[in-house]
Symmetry: C2
Subunit: 149 residues, 2 copies
């Protein structure tokens, strides 16, 4: 299980260009179970995620660029396109800062993953973090993909 907190960001850090980023795209063919296509830089995947109380399965299956582009017109809603910056914090924590592009711009979201619920609850966000949206489904990728524009 992932334990993470999620925050809206209003103002980007000034030294953002010092950090590495991945170019991400993802779109949904189906949401229950999740059948998703995803680009990570020059790698392409079909992801399947089943929901279940006992068994939750996740598979990341490789696609060629051609297969990804063939499946692209079949997605529901919006293709989510974002740059994901990885910014190290104290105590082995890393901020994943997503800068949304295209139809979802300008939207910035930061996620931090923790080893335990205690660590998550004790977390004091940096000055530049905005509203805590950990418990809001509004900023889930599936919700964003369905956004009316």
């Amino acid at each position: 299980m992932e334990i993470e907190r999620k925050f809206l960001i209003d103002t980007l850090p000034e030294n953002l260009s010092d950090y590495p980023y991945h170019q991400l795209e993802q779109g949904y063919l189906c949401t229950e179970p999740v059948v998703r296509i995803r680009r990570e830089n020059d790698d392409y995947y079909l992801t399947y995620k089943s929901k279940g109380l006992m068994v939750r399965e996740e598979y990341n299956l490789p696609l060629t660029k051609e297969a990804y582009e063939h499946l692209l017109p079949k997605i529901d809603g919006i293709l989510i396109s974002k740059k994901r910056y990885l910014i190290p914090l104290l105590e082995n924590l890393t901020i994943e800062l997503d800068i949304f592009e295209g139809k979802l711009a300008p939207l910035y979201l930061a996620e931090v993953e923790f080893d335990s619920e205690e660590a998550a609850n004790a977390f004091i966000p940096p000055e530049w973090f905005g509203k805590d949206v950990t418990y809001s489904s509004e900023y889930h990728n599936i919700t964003l993909s369905r956004k009316k524009l």
Copy 2:
């Protein structure tokens, strides 16, 4: 690896209704790698098959009826719909007799799977089997799904 021979059938056996059958449907979202949706009676699957010399992967991942129906309009070409009869033969062999329905009717194909190439080559087909199409790609499901009607 599957070792099988495939035959066209012109005339169906008279006692066909004595045998059990599955109702099958399948359609392709992508062909390289294969991303396929499939219905087997009341079970629904997403199938992923990669081509590779060293590693060929195949995953059959469960879908709900709703997810299957959501993905149905996204397929390329024709939805293949067929009844698959299972007819036992001598020596633990089974004929899989596919009676295609809908846009591909009337087409009947029989497949027999073998333990070895020797057994496959030694196989003497029953009287009612027609042309051997083992080496023809014309009757592959992917080819049939692309048929211009």
